[in-house]
């Protein structure tokens, strides 16, 4: 992490329910806000009174305007914190700690294979835009969801780059997104693509195995319970292969080399 984290009051500029229990949030931050890259996150305070952990959210879009920086998030309501967030209205000021963590580190020479599971697509939509703008040679986006209803951000992607899969067959390949790639787009695995993945822990663990099987590099964005997001509480420990120490994913991640992670010992979120 190069920038130092800072505390800001972020103003809600826009906030919309884009699907059932699924929200798009646009936050306005001071114009001098440090560049925040795909895979980095903001740690938001979702409670007004009492103590709760802050809640981490990956950045989906970062735009510098003359007077402000705009940051977009997509989030799903899954518990009390995100439920409270869903009541934020344009004009509200919210307590924002960021930018935090280490994001994806793009290998310009290799094809890019973005693997998204559910709301994990969020940071990858941002990565996709940057890759496109940088004229990256080969970019593929594989997006798996439980149900078609849970797709989002599709307008940010070019159709020809996208492969879809769903657990219930409601859209795209019927099954998980890694099977979909192997079955429907084996060609994507040629040319040694680097995998950039984000999604539920089970998908990340599977991605680890997949990358090993196909001898590919893979960067995965971990999910975990964060006490601080600052490397202080030592709560977000990730077990590593071949190393006795644990790595703090909030600080050294959330994006990690899938091959370093001891997936057997990663706790379920």
């Amino acid at each position: 992490m190069d920038q130092e984290p800072r505390l800001d009051r972020a103003r809600v500029r826009a906030h919309e329910e884009t699907g059932p229990g699924f929200y798009w949030l646009q936050l306005e931050l001071p114009a001098d806000y440090p560049e925040t890259l795909p895979g980095q996150y903001l740690n938001l305070k979702t409670n007004e009174h009492g103590f709760k952990f802050r809640r981490p959210f990956g950045v989906v879009e970062f735009r510098r305007e003359p007077q402000a920086v705009l940051i977009e998030l997509y989030y799903a309501v899954v518990g009390s914190g995100t439920e409270a967030m869903s009541r934020w209205r344009p004009g509200d000021d919210v307590d924002c700690l960021g930018p935090l963590g280490v994001g994806y580190s793009v290998d310009k020479a290799q094809p890019a294979l973005l693997v998204a599971g559910g709301r994990g697509a969020a940071p990858l939509l941002y990565l996709y835009r940057l890759l496109k703008e940088s004229g990256h040679a080969s970019i593929q986006f594989a997006f798996g969801v439980r149900d078609e209803e849970l797709l989002f951000g599709m307008d940010r992607l070019q159709e020809t780059d996208v492969l879809l899969a769903s657990d219930n067959g409601s859209v795209g390949f019927h099954g998980n997104i890694l099977q979909a790639i192997e079955t429907e787009r084996p060609s994507w695995l040629l040319g040694q693509p680097v995998i950039y993945a984000c999604g539920p822990e089970a998908l990340l663990a599977a991605t680890g195995g997949f990358a090993k099987r196909h001898a590919l590099q893979a960067q995965v964005s971990m999910e975990g319970v964060y006490g601080c997001g600052l490397g202080l509480c030592r709560g977000c420990a990730v077990p590593l292969v071949d190393e006795e120490r644990f790595l703090m994913q909030c600080l050294e991640g959330p994006v990690l080399d899938a091959h370093r992670v001891d997936w057997e010992k990663v706790p379920h979120v």
């Binding site: 984290p5 103590f51 509480c233 709560g235 644990f246």
Partner: protein
């Protein structure tokens, strides 16, 4: 001399607000987030002689107005602590209290002796909430004798102020506190975490890999305050109040109860500025009430002796 200055357990502080051990890493990590020179000091994360990888994850869980942790005293060991961590605090105008741990009195003594030589170390906090391996794994801070042995062993090798940090998970915290004072402690830090647990009922597994962990945060403040008040009344000694401090008013509760200083823990994760805000808040409180020095606040709780309940309600001394 600022009107917030105070001497707690032999340590002169510019104000009574410190960061609790294990909360702000080894201190320097906090620098981008809060002005360490604005607060009284930092207690660094408990350090052992050897490096410790800590416990397997999951290590933390949120609870109602609190959290559980089972970090397992992860740390780089004293060697790297001294070289890589402590040095980063050089020149900072704030007190550094170094928390040390071990599996028996000798371990503590070894570390204390080493720290005694270091100018940057202003005081030592003994985290005695560790199992004594020689005594069959008994938690040292639940046994007055074991606790006293640790203090005696460290007292012998250092002149630096010694604070003994007590666990609340005992029938009588003042019995353990008395033993520590007898052993030569300059102050008692109270409290460490309460033992607690959470279960994921769908998976039917504990939410912490090790089953139980330490409960901290505002949820435990009433317990912490009761324990501190018990110590103050029973032992009439310097107490450093810890547990669920979240704002000026909760910090003042401990001071009014008789604590000489307080440490802020868990809430720093949610609101890193809280310790600095509390310093300003205490000053504003003193102005409002016309107090010109902190001693006019400390221990000024008015109690009706005849009504009071609680262990050791009568002052020894």
């Amino acid at each position: 001399m600022s009107k917030l200055s105070i001497t707690a357990g032999g340590l002169k502080l510019k104000n009574p607000v410190l960061i609790a051990s294990g909360i702000g890493g080894y201190g320097a990590e906090l620098i981008p987030l809060l002005d360490l020179e604005a607060i009284g000091g930092v207690v660094t994360k408990t350090i052992f002689e050897e490096p410790r990888p800590g416990n397997p994850p999951p290590r933390i869980a949120e609870t109602p107005n609190g959290m559980l942790n089972s970090i397992g005293l992860e740390g780089p060991g004293i060697e790297r602590y001294e070289k890589e961590k402590l040095t980063r605090l050089e020149g900072l105008d704030t007190r550094i209290v170094v928390s040390i741990g071990g599996y028996g009195p000798e371990d503590f003594a070894k570390l204390a002796e080493r720290l005694d030589d270091l100018d940057r170390v202003d005081a030592i906090e003994l985290n005695i909430s560790c199992p004594n391996v020689k005594e069959g794994g008994l938690n040292m801070s639940t046994h007055p004798n074991l606790a006293e042995e640790v203090v005696v062993a460290t007292r012998r090798v250092t002149k630096k102020p010694l604070w003994a940090k007590l666990t609340p998970n005992v029938t009588s915290i003042s019995d353990v506190g008395r033993a520590c004072l007898h052993g030569g402690a300059d102050a008692l830090s109270a409290i460490n975490t309460l033992l607690g647990m959470r279960i994921d009922v769908d998976r039917r597994e504990p939410l912490l890999a090790r089953g139980m962990g330490g409960l901290s945060g505002p949820a435990i403040r009433p317990v912490a305050l009761a324990k501190c008040f018990e110590l103050v009344r029973a032992l009439n000694c310097d107490v450093v109040g810890i547990g669920g401090v979240e704002d000026t008013s909760s910090a003042l509760e401990f001071l009014v109860a008789g604590c000489k200083a307080i440490q802020v823990g868990t809430v720093v994760y949610a609101e890193p500025q809280v310790p600095v805000d509390i310093v300003a808040g205490i000053e504003a409180y003193m102005d409002k009430h016309g107090f010109t020095e902190l001693s006019q606040v400390i221990g000024t709780l008015k109690v009706e002796e005849t009504l009071l309940i609680g262990p050791k309600a009568t002052k020894a001394k």
